[in-house]
Subunit: 327 residues, 2 copies
């Protein structure tokens, strides 16, 4: 996406500083620990959350290095959750690289996730007592786990409603994206509560848009582009936004067939073919994109209270990018 590249270009120095913090704060003196940790920390990814911290800070008038530290903190929390997700999902590829458990087994993968959480704690140690970062992040990490547990628990429940699912993803994905914006905004003038609330709302809305598109890409893009296995959710029988929508509009026969193909025993090609035919028939892809765009639009609307700086324009473009991205 050319808009996305422009945003990255705009804050290239900041993102360089974030990468330096990531390396600095995750280093281990134990060679193997360091190798395993750097494998996931340097593993690319869009760095969406760091970008949000930096842009939110900038739009609120903050330009200092604490944005880089907090950006590194939220990215580490995100990477730790990906590492644990991959253990849970038995994923082989993530961000175009072999996952830790493929390379070194489940033990190492669970432990590297825990190690990253320990390093996050270290990074928060020296903050001022009145700093809101810890409280925000404690609340965020708790909600992320609750969302994940509820989703895991509901995984056998074919009747999950769109509303329930949206609540789960607001926890699993939305909370950390919103926290990235809140933390950045707080670095400006902490008494500007209107600005902080606007950016938090922005983050919540693009978080939902992001996850809807993520769910969709699992069905529409190939593994190379995604940097992870395509049809992964389908293979696991995970109910995600596109499937929940398809189920709500298809006929009873299709509903039964859908339930059947989501079962892990079903032949994968059969499952993919059926779901693709259902998606075409009911326009699932345009429906999801429209839903995601409506969240992106609400996100952009929330920004209206903020000054029209390059950072605000970048945040607006980012909201659209979240919907139009192809990986």
């Amino acid at each position: 996406m050319s808009n996305f590249n422009q945003i990255v270009e705009l804050i290239a120095d900041d993102l360089g500083a974030v990468e330096a913090k990531l390396t600095e704060h995750t280093a281990s003196e134990y060679t193997f620990v360091d190798m395993a940790v750097q494998h996931v920390v340097e593993g690319g990814g869009k760095r969406l959350r760091p970008i949000l911290v930096v842009l939110s800070a900038k739009v609120c008038g903050y330009e200092g290095s604490d944005a880089h530290t907090l950006a590194a903190v939220v990215e580490l929390i995100h990477v730790a959750s990906l590492v644990h997700d991959d253990v849970l999902d038995e994923a082989a590829i993530r961000r175009g690289r072999e996952t830790l458990q493929t390379k070194w087994g489940n033990k190492v993968a669970v432990l590297v996730g825990d190690y990253l959480h320990a390093r996050v704690l270290s990074m928060l140690v020296s903050r001022r007592a009145d700093d809101p970062a810890m409280a925000i992040l404690a609340d965020t990490t708790q909600a992320m786990c609750e969302g994940e547990v509820i989703h895991a628990y509901k995984s056998g429940d074919f009747d999950i409603s769109e509303a329930e699912y949206l609540k789960i993803i607001s926890f699993k994905t939305g909370k950390l994206i919103a926290a990235s914006c809140t933390l950045g905004a707080h670095l400006g003038n902490p008494s500007e509560t209107q600005q902080i609330e606007a950016l938090t709302t922005y983050g919540q809305q693009i978080g939902t848009a992001f996850q809807i598109v993520d769910d969709l890409l699992d069905f529409t893009e190939d593994s190379d582009k995604l940097g992870k296995d395509a049809f992964g959710d389908l293979r696991e029988g995970k109910l995600t936004f596109p499937i929940i929508y398809a189920r709500s509009v298809c006929n009873n026969d299709e509903k039964h067939k859908l339930e059947k193909v989501l079962h892990p025993d079903t032949d994968e090609t059969e499952a993919i073919d059926f779901v693709k035919s259902l998606f075409r028939r009911y326009g699932v892809e345009p429906h999801c994109l429209k839903a995601a765009q409506s969240y992106a639009d609400r996100a952009k609307a929330a920004l209206e209270v903020l000054p029209e700086t390059p950072a605000r324009i970048a945040l607006e473009q980012l909201a659209d990018y979240v919907v139009s991205r192809e990986s």
Copy 2:
């Protein structure tokens, strides 16, 4: 152990307060999350680390409720590490109860561990800026992970030396036990560095004694008494203190056989019989107990700088209990 019961009796009110904090700070408004979390938090265990926080605080003259909060924090870190260990080890039973992954699968188990870490972060949010707890715990959780990763990485390495192994267990087990003592001691007069150092040393030494005995009990006690599967380490081919010692004193034929029986393909009964015969022949059990007792004795010696209060006597008894315990 009657001595252990006396210690528990001595601080029964404190331990009751710790249990209340554990429940209060781990509650989730989501029924299923709460059920899964309480399954492990209420799951018994000796509460060794809370006992150490409380006694270390008392021996340094502190009697307030912050000891209960910090005791709950260290216990939650410990429980989280057990939950993740059990995922890694595919354990079916822990503390006499079904493990989370037996009841609800690996996903829930990994996530409940993460949830407990999130709650620990919440519990630390409101502490004063000059409070050393966060720095101590950040350092401790990092070292625990490093110890675990190194142990996982070395699991295929039959040549691990006793010194290397002792270093690993000082990280995996010793750090959190030592931190429990350090945190308690800090609640007294923080400028009494001699007392704080003495209790930290005490904790490190009993931590090592504790793990050596833990390793031994895996071979000598039955599953009922242990509250977890006996011979679990052997079944996984884990090299622990008794095996590392046995290997260092047996002849070459036995060494080869030992290497063979530690392979997961070996028949379990054959493996157990061979290891038991080796233990009898080379007095592995008395050797381990003697080694553990020497650490317990060093722990007790470290306490000499502290006032001879009931709390100090309890700590001395606890050091001996760690060696003489049967589960």
